[in-house]
């Protein structure tokens, strides 16, 4: 079977490796890193919060919204979608291979999805089938988007642009150019900053706000579907307004506060993800320019966990709010 071979082969050559070979590779890369840093010492890149544009001329102009630029986080969004599609195709191929137990990567994806499905079912009960797609989609997309910052080349390969507060440029091994430390000649046009081709998707506020809007809006839709008009009594609590004059008014005020809390969910969702991941990239930049050799590895490990936890938290909070909306109180 064809699918059999592609899934089983990557496992086999690893077993032939003697234990302890990998440590010499680590040592080799550390020594290589020392020499590389002597030749081209890393710099602190220019940091900005809005996504960088590839060119200053707009791609197209929409009637109401205005100019539309192709930004580097938009490229990252396309890449994230492609990666998710590839994952889906790999898992589909493994499912069609007819095996009872999936192996390798497809097995890992299955175990992950099964875990979060069980979590959904234990929280949301019989609404789990409706809520699970949002949970899984948001978690997988944010996970891939967050882990992109760990790939070398993201945030560091791109177009050089003349700038007054940049770094001088030097030829790199004959086929490319790199920014190097130093003040430059000081006049305009001799120093450059980098516009990366790909920037981590979660460092763009548009992405996080978009996800938060989808999450909060679909929470209302699922609440309305599950409980009908009764769901609105959470916001406009008119039941006790006439039967118990004083506490009814208080209940009505509390209901209005629920609207504020729904709006603040959008803020908290979007800024939590943006803050964590943007701070992570800035941390990696600063550590990489302060201690160029090896120290960044530990922070990459930290960012690995931060990316995982933030993705799961975003999805899990969405799931819990949706489950809450389906319950009466």
């Amino acid at each position: 079977m064809v699918a059999d071979n592609t899934l089983a082969t990557p496992e086999k050559p690893k077993k032939k490796w003697r234990y302890g070979v990998n440590r010499w590779f680590v040592l080799l890369f550390i020594i290589l890193g020392v020499f590389a840093n002597r030749a081209f010492s890393p710099i602190l890149p220019h940091i900005q919060l809005p996504a960088e544009r590839y060119s200053h001329t707009p791609l197209l102009t929409l009637p109401v919204i205005g100019d539309f630029y192709w930004t580097n986080t938009l490229t990252a969004a396309v890449l994230v979608d492609l990666i998710l599609l590839i994952i889906a195709l790999v898992v589909r191929k493994a499912l069609n291979s007819g095996k009872q137990v999936l192996e390798g990567f497809a097995g890992a994806v299955e175990a992950f999805l099964e875990m979060i499905y069980n979590l959904t079912e234990s929280t949301a009960g019989h609404h789990a089938k409706k809520i699970f797609p949002y949970f899984a989609t948001i978690t997988l997309m944010v996970l891939v988007a967050n882990w992109m910052e760990l790939i070398p080349g993201v945030d560091s390969i791109g177009i050089l642009e003349p700038s007054s507060h940049g770094y001088p440029v030097e030829s790199f091994l004959g086929f490319a150019e790199t920014l190097v430390k130093g003040e430059g000649a000081g006049h305009e046009g001799s120093t450059y900053t980098l516009i990366p081709y790909v920037r981590t998707l979660s460092t763009d506020l548009n992405f996080t706000v978009g996800l938060a809007l989808i999450s909060v809006f679909m929470t209302q839709v699922i609440g309305l579907q599950a409980r009908g008009v009764n769901y609105l009594s959470k916001f406009f609590n008119v039941k006790g307004l006439f039967s118990k004059p004083i506490f009814g008014v208080i209940d009505f005020g509390v209901g209005l506060l629920e609207i504020v809390s729904e709006v603040s969910k959008i803020l908290s969702f979007s800024f939590r993800l943006l803050g964590n991941i943007f701070a992570g990239t800035v941390l990696l930049f600063v550590i990489g320019s302060l201690v160029p050799v090896f120290a960044q590895s530990m922070f990459l490990m930290l960012e690995f966990f931060v990316g995982l936890i933030q993705a799961v938290v975003f999805g899990m909070l969405t799931m819990m709010f949706m489950a809450q909306a389906t319950h009466g109180h």
Partner: protein, 75 residues
């Protein structure tokens, strides 16, 4: 005072709010660890809720961080 210096001091002051998030996470994890020590079988549920609570407590500190980053890199 220099405008640049005021900006840097402001970013530093904005991060004072991270004290709250730190205290909150400390209290949360201490409670969760005590709960797990008393009832190790419930560790799965406790861990899930603990991570959710940490995410909420951390969000406050992250707001401070976002304000500091805005002061540093946007304004």
């Amino acid at each position: 005072m220099d405008k640049e210096a005021a900006r840097l001091i402001g970013a530093g002051i904005a991060m004072i709010g991270a004290i709250g998030g730190g205290l909150g996470i400390g209290v949360l994890v201490s409670g969760a660890v005590q709960g797990i020590a008393r009832n190790p079988e419930a560790s799965g549920d406790i861990q899930t809720n603990m991570i959710l609570g940490i995410a909420f407590a951390e969000a406050v500190a992250i707001y401070c961080l976002v304000v500091a980053l805005l002061i540093l890199f946007v304004i």
